[in-house]
Symmetry: C2
Subunit: 128 residues, 2 copies
């Protein structure tokens, strides 16, 4: 059989740069890590959640009703959104009486929010 045909996990595709492909394959992230990473980004990739996160980035800590007021998001939506973010370890909650105060739970996420905002500013106008 020809040696330029791959028979592993891919379909029979011709490979142009064999060593580079091998290197890339060797460093592929494990499936579960990749899914976790994708999930992290997906959670940041919704306007409603992003609004909440940037509000928390600025305000530090806010209760559900204040988050609702500050972002103009119905409280139910805020609650649903925060549950997803909390389960993923992106925000943390602190109870005080009948209120729950939320804040960002991770320095890396804070960095992601910052850098992405910066990216946007720099990327503006570069592409058609």
């Amino acid at each position: 059989m020809p040696d330029d045909v791959v028979g592993l996990d891919a379909c029979a595709t011709r490979v142009i740069d064999e060593p580079r492909v091998e290197a890339a394959r060797a460093q592929l992230l494990p499936e579960d890590e990749l899914n976790d990473l994708a999930q992290l980004f997906r959670l940041l990739g919704d306007a409603t959640r992003a609004r909440l996160l940037y509000a928390l980035l600025e305000a530090g800590e806010l209760c559900v009703c204040d988050l609702s007021a500050a972002t103009g998001t119905p409280e139910t939506n805020v609650s649903h959104a925060l549950r997803l973010l909390r389960t993923a370890g992106i925000v943390k909650a602190r109870r005080s009486g009948r209120m729950m105060f939320y804040s960002l739970d991770d320095a890396h996420v804070r960095m992601l929010l910052d850098i992405s905002r910066e990216h946007l500013r720099h990327a503006k106008g570069r592409h058609l």
Copy 2:
């Protein structure tokens, strides 16, 4: 009318920490910026696209068929994915003969990928 009821864009929600809410509102990102940010994260938030991006992060530059081979993704999917990423300015393309070589187009995105991977490592095991 009572002064603890908000009547601007939100529904009539009671506000707990008025000044903090005002501050958060004043610093809210404009809608279009927020949509762009959410779109950026959403594009990173898919396992197939993330696989391709991390492959490019490691390999530097790969053509479609090599990306397909390296990640085990059908070439059609690779092409669809790369179009979205290219339109958003996340990857750039270089033609060489009948092949197209793709690579990451933005230092910030590279940072996002790095930091998120780091986040994952550190966050592993912290939450239930």
